[in-house]
């Protein structure tokens, strides 16, 4: 049972997150078009991929001279966390068939955070769908507006959006740095990528870093087998 107050609160939060994400999509549209993608490609990424970090990575890896397949690999690796979100959501949402296929596209950081917050499954489902629809609509609208506005400029680099991808990645990284281990991993990854960069094709440092962090993650853990 959801009271009308609870329902209103969930819908208001969903809209708020949608608006914030839509504003962030403006910068994706601007960065993507400045990097050289067409408006259609930029919008296709937001509709079809719909997971921010992977979209930014795909665009910047290719724009900085990496092969399209290095872009695919990086976007994929950044998207793997969504599988764990899906795992947590599966029990809450209880969806199957067409609804599951639709729900899957909405499985991202924000919808997961909103859906696992309430203690009541019915509220979780409302939060998931309301947040998903709100973000999907406004993320795509923001992307389109950002792309159109940037495309209209004679030289989009005049606004500096070609220098902005690191800021976008930093804003995505910061919330994940709340413990000592991720900070150490981030610093090591940055250093290793820079050391490798002059010697290997563009995009390859990212893949090496990914392999190393996987090896680190799956290493035998003496003592605490269920350490998360």
């Amino acid at each position: 049972m959801i009271t009308s107050d609870t329902r209103r609160g969930i819908l208001r939060d969903a809209l708020g997150i949608g608006i914030a994400t839509g504003a962030y999509a403006l910068s994706f549209g601007a960065i993507s078009v400045t990097a050289g993608l067409s408006i259609a490609q930029t919008c296709a990424l937001s509709v079809l991929m719909f997971t921010g970090a992977s979209q930014f990575a795909f665009v910047t890896v290719i724009a900085s001279g990496g092969s399209p397949w290095a872009g695919v690999a990086t976007a994929t690796l950044l998207g793997t966390r969504n599988a764990l979100y899906g795992l947590r959501l599966a029990a809450l949402l209880e969806v199957s068939g067409f609804r599951r296929a639709a729900a899957a596209q909405f499985v991202i950081d924000e919808t997961t955070a909103m859906a696992i917050a309430p203690d009541v499954p019915e509220q979780s489902r409302l939060a998931f769908w309301a947040t998903g629809l709100s973000i999907f609509s406004l993320w795509n609208l923001g992307t389109l507006i950002g792309a159109l506005a940037t495309h209209a400029l004679p030289d989009p680099t005049v606004l500096g959006f070609d220098a902005a991808p690191p800021a976008a990645f930093l804003a995505l990284l910061a919330p994940r740095l709340r413990a000592r281990e991720p900070v150490a991993i981030a610093l090591a990854a940055a250093l290793i990528a820079l050391v490798l960069l002059p010697f290997v094709p563009a995009g390859v440092p990212l893949l090496v870093v990914a392999v190393l962090v996987v090896l680190y993650g799956v290493r035998p853990q003496p003592g605490s087998p269920r350490n998360r």
Binding site: Y24, V61, A63, V72, L87, P166, L173, A174, P198
Partner: protein, 105 residues
């Protein structure tokens, strides 16, 4: 700037299809497949390492060479904005504006 031909469209569609499959797999696969502690531990570390490597390479390189230019200043401004808990758009816009202004000087 590179040319964005059919290869980019193909890569875009493939990447989007894989990203969607990952999401769908999370909703569909038996829970125990994804419950392995090593998997649970490793997957959240991937974005940390990749985002950090992306920040470093996108800030300090051009075409396979290490360089130091206005992007370093843009990143520093972004870091301050992040520490001040600025919204995402403000972080990105502040970095872009920093680079644009420094280029005018």
């Amino acid at each position: 700037m590179i040319s964005w031909g059919g290869m980019t469209w193909l890569a875009l569609v493939v990447a989007a299809a894989i990203c969607y499959s990952i999401k769908l797999a999370g909703l569909s696969l038996p829970e125990r497949w994804l419950e392995d502690p090593r998997l649970q531990r490793t997957v959240p570390l991937l974005p940390v390492a990749l985002l950090a490597a992306l920040i470093a390479t996108q800030t300090f390189s051009t075409g396979g060479h290490l360089v130091l230019d206005v992007r370093a200043a843009a990143l520093a401004v972004a870091a301050v904005a992040v520490l001040l808990r600025a919204p995402f758009l403000v972080v990105v816009a502040a970095a872009a504006a920093t680079a644009a202004l420094l280029r005018l000087i």
